[in-house]
Symmetry: C2
Subunit: 432 residues, 2 copies
């Protein structure tokens, strides 16, 4: 990491942070109501096993833009906050599978991505410290023998080939009652994981092969409608507007009219809200594959015309996302500016919050030096510097200013949990 | 605090730490079995709301000597570990009383003890950060109006007089469904707390007016018998031997023969174990009131003769304990040497571990510069320097030496939880 960690909280560079301080002030004033409401929600709709939520902080608005139910990046969390992860894993597994002693962890197939392997090693370490034996069973076809990886951190990571006998998964003779997925199934639901006798967490239905971002954000909208009523704020301050378009083929230019008219309509809706709050920023829209992750197939547009003038290369980039899924449904999401910057070069930063069960366990900032405030920070080929949250998100300080660091982190934790609640509702809908 | 916190883990000064490293080695090697066993135990016998356990680390032996179910000293925990407390309170209250939004906290009556008030302020802060409104209702008769205390830490603490209307407790109009006791009831069960409609945690039956140390250590012995079998160690390595004597009156010298013969018998049992392990320390016995706390009525003896030659002042000290209870039953407990020392002056230190629900949330060392290794560190008029654990007790590191700090802290956490399990069995016995 090249960035010095001396002042580990980015500076929020905006004169327009009035409404956000309003938001933080509301969160503080209504903290016990908010927490009581969350407790009630988790009783009704239990949280998924884990999640990370990408936030954007525009000063005047704080909202999630992506919710990952198979999070990586555990290696980016502060070492000091790992005990929170350990304790949360203990709580989660007591609830899901109290008799479990051993866990089979199924990772992504990126065996050449050192960052991912570091995250995997941290996740394994957390679950082992929580008191479970953990072995890693890989779906990667090229892995035919157990393979030991030496990581940059100095740790060793053993990946073993996953195999199935009848309706149980194994690595060698190891076949525990609980299988934990850390693979988002962008490439589809592998047959080897279907119809298992073992408990699989999170369930296959939460993989990207089933899940649509637009479903998530519809549920998020329902969640924030109620929550905003509870604490008496405009839900738009915490909710990105969106529209969706079906049956888009970027290469064949099919569905382009729908795309163009929906972009226009969405830009107008954003402009109306900006006018209402007297904001002179230029509205923008982020175009994403409705299924998929890793920021592939993501584009920022300021007008419908931009979508019609894409060149072949840009179309091709939008046409496929991670794992080769062809983009056919598209999410048009209100672009939320990032006004948090870091360091002398004013690098743009986005917070990512992590949850295990319904507990906020930490987070980090993605710090990017070469991007503007309205660009996606999780784009292909993107390199970010992780900047671990120096403090937990659970220690609001009523005697400090609403935008003091512990209170800003608390606000992140509230918004992260609202997105988690939307995911919990996806989970419940899939259980039915 | 006058002690520098540069090397926050005491040095274990003993050449006799072989068996303890054996113990730590066993704990590490069998960690997933140990944790699975604890999970099963908490399912069968849920943990009390909170506890602190005083440990003694003799190098060759690591054992609890006191278990407090209404802990103070929260202000001595490391600030960095408070998020663990917050998360554990959330877990605990979701289990006990998921609908609770507000909590009435009933403290000890020592309104002049700044240390206690600091602990109370920290406890209130933890529960508030966990998402509850907390007000403090005092039993102290001298408190007739709400009184605000300015604490050395700069914090403010508001104590309000507790009142009862029908079968509910109030401070002013505030009467939440959950009442949390932080008063160990040494002075008996106050009528105002009997037969409440509100949930009272922990229940009155766990107060010192009902509880006997000897019952606790009997249950502890049962727990360690099974646990030692599980990981294949001699239970004595983690269990203090003890005997009890009933109907003792120190002033009237009643019951002295029982005391003398039991002390002799216990010293002989200890000597046999010392011989078995080739230890040349001199056995000693700690004489304590069987009901009571705060180290009053505690005495260290190396022979039965010492008990017969007590002077009047010593007898008077043994005759009453905190809250004025007359000592009538006595616990004779194997004295466990303290071989952990701190700093250039080799100050003797004892670890105290803290648990909320069944989660280890931290601890501190009592550092005492003017006492020997075989003296009680929690004695009347005693002043200790608290030295917060720098690390949590939940991060055992298999690649480090068995006595490396994270592994020593893990061992403390294991023993602390064994004592907690004994307390959970007391709780269950009282529920029946």
């Amino acid at each position: 990491m090249s960035i010095e960690h001396l002042h580990p909280v980015p500076h929020l560079v905006t004169a327009l942070n009035g409404p956000l301080q309003q938001l933080e002030r509301h969160f503080l004033a209504r903290q016990s109501d908010i927490e009581a409401w969350f407790r009630q929600q988790w009783q009704q709709t239990p949280a998924p096993f884990y999640a990370s939520v990408d936030l954007r902080n525009a000063g005047f608005k704080l909202a999630p833009v992506d919710t990952n139910l198979f999070p990586a990046g555990f290696n980016n969390l502060s070492q000091e906050l790992l005990p929170l992860c350990i304790q949360a894993v203990q709580s989660a597994l007591e609830r899901h599978c109290p008799e479990a002693r051993q866990i089979l962890l199924i990772p992504e197939n990126h065996t050449r991505n050192q960052y991912y392997l570091e995250s995997l090693a941290t996740l394994q370490d957390i679950i082992q410290k929580a008191g479970f034996l953990v072995r890693i069973g890989s779906l990667a076809e090229e892995l035919r023998e157990p393979q030991n990886f030496s990581l940059p951190s100095g740790r060793q990571l053993l990946l073993e080939p996953l195999r199935r006998k009848n309706d149980r998964l194994y690595v060698r003779e190891f076949s525990p009652c609980l299988v934990l997925l850390n693979n988002d199934l962008s490439a589809g639901r592998p047959a080897i994981l279907e119809g298992l006798q073992q408990m699989l967490l999170p369930p296959l239905a939460l993989g990207w092969s089933n899940r649509l971002k637009s479903d998530h954000f519809s549920l998020y909208q329902e969640v924030t409608q109620v929550f905003a009523g509870l604490i008496d704020i405009d839900p738009w301050l915490i909710t990105p507007l969106f529209l969706r378009c079906g049956e888009i083929n970027f290469m064949k230019r099919a569905g382009e009219e729908c795309l163009a008219s929906n972009i226009d309509s969405l830009l107008q809706s954003i402009q109306r809200k900006y006018d209402e709050y007297g904001l002179d920023q230029k509205p923008f829209v982020v175009v994403k594959a409705d299924a998929g992750t890793y920021g592939m197939g993501v584009m920022t547009v300021h007008s419908a015309a931009e979508i019609q003038s894409l060149n072949r290369k840009q179309r091709s980039r939008m046409a496929t996302s991670k794992g080769g899924l062809e983009t056919s449904q598209v999410l048009l999401q209100e672009g939320v500016y990032t006004f948090e910057t870091w360091g002398d070069n004013q690098a743009v930063t986005d917070p990512v919050v992590y949850m295990i069960d319904h507990f906020i366990v930490g987070g980090f900032y993605r710090v990017h030096t070469r991007r503007g405030a309205n660009e996606n920070l999780n784009a292909p080929g993107m390199h970010f510097e992780p900047l671990a949250f120096a403090q937990p998100c659970t220690t609001p300080e009523h005697h400090m200013a609403p935008d003091a660091h512990p209170n800003r982190f608390y606000a992140y934790g509230v918004i992260g949990r609202l997105a988690l609640l939307a995911a919990a509702r996806e989970l419940l809908a899939n259980d039915r």
